[in-house]
């Protein structure tokens, strides 16, 4: 039982990390109806900025205060993501108002390549580390309930906590504020949004900024686990099944999707893996996503696709 719980909790926390990346997809889809191929590149870009800024400020401060250096680096990386959002709107999106979804999709593909290239040009292409002082040591919990207790990775635990807070904030932002309503309106119809006085350009900067911050948080957490390197951009691929499962338009869906996939991966690996020679963890998520696409293409919480003919 203790082992099962341990696997379950490990899965939940890993799932939360997937959700964090998935969230970026959902944000942009909700607010512009575009599947943003550049989300992975944004995670990489943000993580690179964060890693290098913290390295530089730490050196400038003489290595005295890791926290201060990280805070400055975080703000700096946030500003960088704001500039990125502004540039994307200025150079790409502004010229694509009222265009087909496919056009915008291709544009994000282009943005992804530009971000990957520019990111490595500006910040270097080595492997960097992000050290935000997260405790790496695992802790034992519930020792008096189960024999031997449950082993929990502290780092994962804090990461999951941060992800949860971020999600709660975003949900409130989308559902309860007039800006959130404006974002949803823009996603549905550009022309109509303009006609009720919603400034499309500003809305796009806002949403890419928010997605940039989500990418930054994801980049920091994943970066401190895996190291900041080019392969971080492919983290987005692991979040793909999550958004398919949760629905592209739902913030809570991204979370639940992440949790289901995280838990599913771990449990299937541990309990089914031995019979089929292991390696389930690698394809489990995609398999699940495929099944969902067959039977419930809008995902768990996505808007049902209604078309009057």
């Amino acid at each position: 039982m203790a082992f099962f719980l341990e696997t379950l909790i490990g899965g939940l926390m890993a799932g939360m990390l997937y959700s964090l990346v998935a969230l970026g997809f959902v944000l942009i889809y909700k607010a512009s109806g575009v599947f943003n191929f550049a989300q992975g590149a944004m995670v990489l870009f943000a993580a690179l900025a964060m890693a290098r800024f913290s390295e530089w400020t730490n050196a400038a401060l003489g290595g005295d205060s890791l926290i201060l250096a990280n805070v400055i680096a975080f703000v700096g990386a946030g500003v960088v993501m704001f500039i990125v959002a502004w540039l994307i709107e200025r150079l790409a999106l502004r010229n694509l108002v009222n265009q087909e979804g496919a056009t915008l999709l291709m544009a994000t593909l282009g943005i992804a390549y530009v971000l990957e290239g520019v990111g490595q040009t500006l910040f270097g292409s080595e492997i960097y580390k992000i050290d935000v002082g997260m405790p790496k040591d695992p802790v034992m919990m519930l020792e008096n309930v189960f024999e031997g207790g449950i082993l929990i990775n502290k780092e994962d635990f804090y990461a999951a906590l941060i992800a949860a807070v971020l999600v709660a904030l975003l949900w409130v932002f989308f559902q309860k504020t007039s800006t959130g309503r404006a974002l949803r309106a823009v996603a549905d119809d550009h022309q109509a949004a303009l006609s009720v006085g919603i400034p499309l350009n500003r809305i796009w900067v806002i949403v890419w900024c928010v997605a940039g911050v989500a990418a930054l948080v994801a980049g920091i957490i994943w970066g401190s686990k895996l190291g900041v390197q080019f392969s971080l951009a492919t983290v987005a691929l692991r979040a793909l099944p999550v958004v398919i499962l949760g629905g592209l338009t739902s913030v809570p869906g991204a979370i639940l999707g992440g949790l289901i996939i995280g838990v599913g991966e771990k449990l299937s690996e541990v309990y089914i893996g031995p019979y089929v020679g292991g390696g389930i963890e690698i394809w489990f998520a995609y398999m699940l996503a495929l099944i969902f696409l067959l039977f419930r293409p809008q995902g768990l919480f996505g808007e049902k696709i209604i078309d009057r003919v």
């Binding site: 409130v172 932002f173 309860k176 504020t177 007039s178 800006t179 309503r181 404006a182 949803r184 309106a185 996603a187 549905d188 119809d189 022309q191 109509a192 949004a193 303009l194 006609s195 009720v196 006085g197 919603i198 400034p199 499309l200 338009t249 808007e303 209604i306 078309d307 009057r308």
Partner: protein, 260 residues
Amino acid sequence: MSKKIGDVILDLQNISLRFGGVKALIDISFDVREHEIRAIIGPNGAGKSSMLNVINGVYHPQEGKILFRGEERKRMHPHMAAAQGISRTFQNIALFKGMSVLDNIMTGRNLKMKSNLLLQAIWWGPARNEELEHRAKVEEIIDFLEIQHIRKTPVGRLPYGLQKRVDLGRALAMEPQILLLDEPMAGMNVEEKQDMCRFILDVNDQFGTTIVLIEHDMSVVMDLSDRVVVLDYGQKIGDGDPDEVRSSPEVIKAYLGVGH
């Protein structure tokens, strides 16, 4: 006419609009007076929708001046037009399909919401009162348009006629000074047309809203409007009250067809 029609609110002078070599509008001038219903008619491709889009700021005419309340208007975007009190509906309905009727109409209030994002998020203090105020206004519009029964329905599921009504509701929620209606009755059956006519007249009557409308249905135009502009191939061929326009030989030739 017993209605109190006011001064000129919108004055279009010598407007010309080209798309490459295509001349959509050629040297068109007309004005719109406060509180009146002004119709723009003409055969397909006459430039009616282009005219509306010029007023709305979607298109920018190469020549000509637009005076709004006596002031010359600079190059502007549709969302600025909205801020100045010009709202519109669309020929091919452009609603937010995933959102409920209530939310759709609520977006019309977006510009009027002034309170802090943070306060809105925690649903507190002035933000809460403001939201409630706007909700009350939206409910008023819903009552007015007789769509109480579908308030919570996602717009994508509604039949065409009702969608058109929601479109009008959203435009009304902005409490516009000028309401632009692009073929408000297109594709409707007789009953729906009658309803829509009634709503347009009531809006004009009760709120004093100035209305500029494009419509194909001649009987509707003649009944509704105070004055009519007739366009044909981008040129103005008639302007005046419905009777005048109806008896103008040029208009009869171009639009109504000889022997009508």
